[in-house]
Symmetry: D2
Subunit: 339 residues, 4 copies
């Protein structure tokens, strides 16, 4: 922690800060420069972080030196985390994981049709929403528990890992009883109670980045889950909100190498929500793989015109299948594999 | 709804779309231009909004004409909503409401001290957090229920309306039993289950704008609460996330007149969280009042150096008191009042 | 300057950096912490700023402590700058300066009509564009020199200070021969050659903030002008580009107090370009004044329907006149004056 | 163009608008809905675009249907443009073009060393700045003409195409006499005079996207150059400004497929400026190629510690060489080639 003082800071103000730092059991290093005095505090920053140093008289700004996250960091764990998703699938290793399926689960027949198609094309995780966060109260809100029953059935029969969103702390156990991966949606990335709750389960968690969240914010949210004892967290880059309006969100492709540098957790890309248009999904998927992601989550629908949500960004199975074969080549070119 | 077709859209694609629109009971108006065919659909857009028209072959883009919100809109209700907050205080009229108090409730003595000071300066609502959404799992998370008991006690004895954040659907009834206004924090603005839950109460709700949420998104979240039967919603502009880093967030002052034009709901300004620095709070408060807001929510602490959260952005009572007297002049200059 | 080393930085890497710092005539302070080594360099940062320390092996990040600007800073000059604009008008003092007029100069009669109206309402500077930066090559590009001749004539006869944009270094002398204030548009805020060129004149410069520029970037651009010997710079907040789309840009109202803290230069607000809609101009103008700005620049047109540019954001003279009388009250409430 | 009227628009206001549209030689289609009246105007939008319809009484908003750009659009030219860069190199076809070299030209020996190294690794264009847009007036501003002489010499002897930035209209002819490609930097993307000036030359132009510019803004700037008669424009995605601060800018990878859909012009990626850190350059380069870009521009320096600018984001030749061989595989995986 570096405490930069105002040019006009008085001696007694400097002393007041030094006393405070010392009282916390830390050692202040004072450097008197020609233009500014700065106080460096070497040691565990956590103690100081909770002290509002910027509220102290004479302080101009406080600059943290260390990252605020611990368990998710590369320093805590050097090697990549390999997370077992069940049914013989794991993420974080050489092989990429592809999650695919409809935005919303609509009925059992359609789910099976789409599930079969994506599995045949090489997807190993079946996605499908049963609880849908919709901006309008008048939009379809998902089938709820009955949707999850369908997803479980499809996953079991097709031999696919399943993933679905949980939006409410009260549903965590129930959702966990049906699916293999609990998804935290971007709008809940900082719903800290929900994070604690999935952190208390043993289920892998797919944590989607919030639209206004930095990579570091995402890692802090993951830290909530790990600090609860659940180390099986998969991060997901799905676009951030910017001024650019030709896509629904702006896929922050740099988040992949940045996250890889800071953390041992696997990260996947959601090109469907980032783009908001199916036509952009193939190129963004390839970009994600080339940039080093550990998997993809792609919306696929066999009748997009009839989809109750996100029809405009869903690939039809034929296009998904074509994309999968193209992705194999891209994955190979960067030393990765797709089954 | 305007459906713009691709230049190469075929006749059968056009017919397919027209059939769909007609089947929904709506009337399409086809206009053949030299460069594009467009199909205008006049009538209730809600029916069409849930149909993924962009997924139809031949469609280039779909442009909504009407706003997606109903109950919150000026068209639904022409005059400003006046919301009774209890204890003789209401918001949305000539008189501005000032909410003030510590970020977190820390102990009963401090809360009373701060409460007395802000009341004396003219604040009519006492704020204080008992459930704190913190980016780090290692930070102080609030006193919970015992904090709310303190807040109720202070509010009752000081004759002040109280406001505190509720973060979890399971806590809504409990929090509602202690406070006068339920606050939905910016990170929960799109926690739709929570919105439904506060929508089912009779308590006034303070809805803070999300950091990546547009004014329209905020109004859609308010629509959730109103559609649940609770029309007592107070909006709050507290800054959005942008590239500018000299403030914690960027206070979107234009959101005040924009919201006033679109909606009948009152809107207040939170300069403390927008700025992240107490030194900027006075000027931003004055700007908010001059721009036409219906109130302010300001963090005040008598010992900012010891605050367990947000000390750097809290005004001390003396500065708050000075600000209040300055605000009276600004309010008067725009035809408003502060008690 | 604080140099934070990677956890795995070797002793020889540390030595290499220390040698480099020492060779530059500076004194490094090495602090060995449990998790990181950091090297503090106290002294003039300029010398180090141009050395790419982040390219040195073992360096994790480099944190500047001092601001990179000098002449524009409050540290360089404590008191507010008062800039003489000629014709008895100055900016930066108690009295606010209001600049008003059409976006583009269209013809002499219209300019006089508008000029008379805004002067009568209390404006003391007449604005009008002769060189127009337009996003489309097919849009009206301005009358050029003949427009400036009209502006000079109007300014002289009406006794008003004049301001107009200069877009090209080759036009600086010519434009300066006609107008009292040279305007640098937001798209040219980082056209450094142009900045140097207006810095070489003696004319006051109105520097508009770029849409992707932070307050600090704006101050650095002002530094270009001051370092050229021209200290008469007026800053202008006119909105930054964000995801919010209900306004053309997002007026960063906090930029006013932030700039006032960092710099001695006056700053004005342009509500017309920020909002992009005339209906929002009055409230934003009041907010600007209440937040402490030194003036406003407002687009006014007597026949907005016929305006060749920006008609949708121009106030008609009646509305401008009403606004001016309202602004007098707001100005008075914060201890300022409007003539 | 769709004109949406306010709910309260009067008949005479509607008539006034219809008269205006008709007077412009266009045909209005009025659709009376239950909630709004809308007026569709089919035909060339350019005529209407310059009329400030939003300034008309009764108008709520105006929605353009067509894109404002013409010559750069896919509708104007279906097939990809192939641009001849001289020395046997062209861009826009199967083969990717890799531009590499130092940020700034520092001296002839270093330029040759770097040039040789990047050529050997497979780069076909040598980059090097002689005019440098620097945010600080106190930073190194480039060698100017003598730098260009060095670049020409290096390009000729090494048989490489050359590219360098031109910042000032007065330098266009001079710079064009030394280099093969004129670069317009991101800060000058909307320096419309400069765009016109390079549009009047026959030289290929590398147009970098502005930090606050949408893809459509970039295409409008390209339209300036094409409308001047110069169709040899190469677009460049180099990151936009967002709240994310772990990279200097946010590389908008989606801009590649979006641009490809809208325009026939080639587009390259600049990972060095987007990331601001050399460690991220390889992954971003691969992502760009996988997403379908036509080339890359990468900063390479053999002594980054001594670079006068951008040392922290420059690859050393060994790393660049390794990257090139990896890129060959990625290019092949998406049906492209690198020499």
């Amino acid at each position: 922690m570096i405490i930069v003082l105002k040019p006009e800071a008085s001696d007694s103000q400097v002393k007041h800060i030094i006393d405070k730092v010392t009282a916390l059991g830390l050692t202040p290093h004072v450097s008197q420069g020609s233009e500014r005095t700065i106080i460096g505090v070497i040691g565990p920053e956590d103690t100081l972080r909770i002290t509002p140093l910027e509220a102290f008289p004479g302080v101009e700004k406080v600059i943290p030196v260390l990252s605020p996250f611990r368990l998710v960091s590369r320093e805590f764990k050097k090697e990549n985390s390999l997370i077992d998703l069940g049914k013989g699938v794991s993420i974080g290793g050489e092989e990429l994981v592809v999650m695919a399926g409809p935005c919303s689960i609509e009925n059992i027949d359609r789910l099976f049709e789409i599930g079969k198609a994506v599995k045949k094309a090489g997807a190993n995780v079946l996605r499908g929403g049963a609880f849908k966060p919709r901006t309008s109260p008048y939009s379809f809100q998902g089938l709820g528990k009955s949707g999850l029953e369908m997803l479980k059935k499809a996953g079991d029969e097709l031999g696919m890992v399943t993933v679905s969103e949980v939006m409410d702390g009260r549903d965590v156990d129930m959702v966990a009883s049906f699916v293999d991966i609990l998804q935290i949606g971007c709008r809940n990335m900082q719903n800290f109670n929900l994070l604690k709750e999935v952190g208390a389960t043993k289920k892998p968690v797919l944590l989607k980045r919030g639209m206004a969240s930095s990579v570091k914010d995402m890692l802090m949210s993951a830290e909530y889950i790990l600090s609860g004892g659940n180390f099986s967290v998969i991060l997901c880059e799905r676009g951030i909100r910017t001024f650019e309006d030709s896509t629904r969100n702006t896929l922050d492709i740099s988040a992949i190498p940045v996250t890889k540098e800071l953390s041992h957790l696997p990260i996947i890309v959601d090109p469907s929500h980032a783009a908001g248009k199916w036509g952009l999904v193939p190129d963004l998927s390839k970009a994600g793989v080339a940039a080093g992601c550990d998997g993809l989550i792609i919306e696929v629908h066999n009748r997009p015109e009839e989809a109750v949500s996100d029809g405009e960004q869903s690939l039809i199975p034929e296009k998904f299948s074509k994309l999968m074969s193209e992705l194999k080549a891209v994955a190979a070119s960067v030393g990765r594999k797709i089954k």
